[in-house]
């Protein structure tokens, strides 16, 4: 019962916060609601026994990505933003599409029955600590994807610098 209560709280908070994120007129407020949302999600990860992912969620999403968003939002002109329409005129179409996707996903999920069980039970993860277990998986079975991920980040850094820097007058 208690876990369900907690889940109920998180589900409620996450959905409400998501809605707030996408409906705020002021992007800065959107960012702040999203910050809160990320904390809720991180806390929920703790309940799912994924402490490292929770930390990553806060450090990377909240601490890095969202700060970037905030930076960019602050650099933009918000006066005009606060006076114009939030949504495009055809927003009901979007609503229909989103609703259809939700309906499809729910109908698919409803039929889902987990029938697989791996070796990483809660006990194993608690004994090994989550960080170590994840690190072991990451640096053995997923070493190659991990290296590719690092390459992607490198490319992203270079790309971002090239894109955002002011054109040199030559």
């Amino acid at each position: 019962m208690l876990p369900k209560l907690f889940f109920g709280y998180f589900a409620f908070a996450i959905i409400v916060l998501s809605l707030l994120v996408i409906t705020r007129r002021n992007p800065v407020h959107s960012v702040m609601w999203m910050l809160l949302l990320f904390f809720q999600i991180a806390s929920m990860y703790l309940f799912l026994n994924a402490e490292f992912i929770a930390a990553i969620q806060v450090i990377v999403y909240a601490g890095a990505i969202l700060v970037l968003f905030l930076f960019v939002v602050l650099l933009l002109n918000l006066r005009e933003e606060l006076l114009t329409n939030r949504f495009i005129s055809a927003w009901p179409v979007g609503l229909v599409f989103a609703g259809a996707i939700f309906a499809g996903a729910v109908s698919a999920v409803a039929a889902f029955v987990p029938n697989f069980s791996g070796q990483y039970t809660v006990d194993v993860i608690n004994r090994e600590t989550h960080t170590k277990a994840l690190g072991q998986a990451l640096y053995t079975d997923f070493l190659f994807p991990f290296e590719i991920a690092s390459l992607i980040l490198l490319i992203a850094i270079i790309g971002a610098i090239v894109l955002a820097k002011k054109r040199m007058r030559s």
Binding site: V28, V58, L70, F71, L74, T131
Partner: protein, 355 residues
């Protein structure tokens, strides 16, 4: 009453609930104790600073309020508390209110994972170090938002400067601590302290001298202290991101900054300087409680030594230029920290191969 409760929560779980409540109360008490003690320390850190700086500049520092000026921090607090709270006209009010809170809370939250003596931490979690990173990265929000919501150019520029500074040096700081993590094999701060006992002098600062150097520089930048106090460079930006703040909201920033310093000192003490870990010949004959109390003081001594270092540097070094600051962070500290990681890893493999 019980029936209703069981109807909601489920049968037979009343004891469980009561235990839970008791546990919660204990945790709250712990938090209250830590926060109270920490804030007291923060208050006296300001007094300490004024005294140290004063003497370094051949002045006397505060001495009017109370004996030797010991009540000066309280007088300052009272003054700030009763000051008029001015809000700029076009400020984004919710965020203007929120920003100092975020800043202060993120600093205070970090206290929860610090082990002050053997076996005591509000939350002794496995990812303590990551938690510290997470919280310190949140501080940037308070800075950016305060700068932006003030609707003032000085504050905005100060906020952006500070945020980019904090974000940049966070990377160097995180990387500098990776060496410590590798040597300790854990992210739990208590484990890190314990791991240091097996090393010469009970310090990681010796084998991790590179990491320690990077950490110290990054810690100064993270807390916006001299020589990296660009965000609040009074000659350029008046007071930086909190220019428009006054009264109690300003006090929150003020407290947040000193709490940040305290936390950085604590991290330095825990991760590099051995924390509360006493040599075994000292603790051998003592009762457990005495050993723990001795450990606490040993830990606090290191924290204050580091704080003193903060003040000493402030009294000694001039301010850097902003591009120099960024250059140090990205071109010196990060490569150094990376080199440190590589060296640590290689040495670790080498030692493993020898055994």
């Amino acid at each position: 009453m019980t029936g209703l409760f069981e109807a909601i929560v489920g049968p037979g779980s009343l004891d469980y609930i009561i235990n839970l409540v008791i546990m919660l109360i204990i945790i709250l008490l712990k938090i209250a104790a830590v926060v109270a003690v920490a804030l007291l320390h923060v208050a006296y850190a300001t007094y300490f600073e004024r005294k140290v700086i004063g003497h370094m500049q051949l002045r006397l520092g505060p001495r009017e309020v109370g004996p030797l000026g010991l009540f000066q921090p309280f007088a300052d607090g009272v003054k700030l508390f009763f000051k008029e709270d001015i809000i700029p006209a076009d400020a984004d009010k919710p965020l203007f209110y929120l920003a100092p809170v975020i800043f202060f809370i993120s600093a205070l939250t970090s206290l929860s994972v610090l082990p002050f003596f053997d076996g005591f931490a509000v939350a002794n979690i496995n990812i303590g170090l990551l938690f510290l990173f997470a919280m310190s990265s949140l501080g940037a929000y308070g800075i950016v938002l305060s700068g932006w919501s003030s609707n003032s150019k000085y504050a905005f520029l100060g906020g952006l400067r500070s945020a980019s500074q904090v974000i940049s040096y966070e990377i160097a700081m995180g990387l500098s601590l990776v060496g410590v993590m590798m040597m300790a094999g854990s992210l739990n701060l208590s484990d890190i302290v314990r791991a240091q006992q097996h090393y010469p002098l009970g310090l990681f600062a010796v084998p991790q001298f590179l990491g320690f150097f990077v950490f110290v520089v990054a810690a100064f930048a993270e807390t916006n202290r001299l020589p990296f106090d660009l965000p609040e460079a009074e000659s350029e930006l008046v007071a930086g991101y909190f220019t428009e703040y006054s009264g109690f909201r300003f006090a929150l920033f003020f407290l947040g900054e000193y709490t940040g310093m305290l936390i950085m000192s604590a991290i330095a003490s825990l991760c590099f300087l051995g924390g509360w870990g006493l040599p075994s010949f000292v603790t051998a004959g003592l009762p457990v409680v005495a050993a723990k109390v001795l450990g606490l003081f040993w830990f606090l001594a290191k924290v204050y030594a580091f704080m003193f270092f903060y003040y000493w540097v402030r009294a000694t070094l001039p301010r850097y230029r902003y591009d120099q600051l960024m250059a140090i962070g990205w071109k010196l500290l990060i490569p150094l920290a990376l080199a440190n990681i590589v060296i640590t890893g290689l040495v670790k493999i080498w030692i493993k191969g020898m055994v």
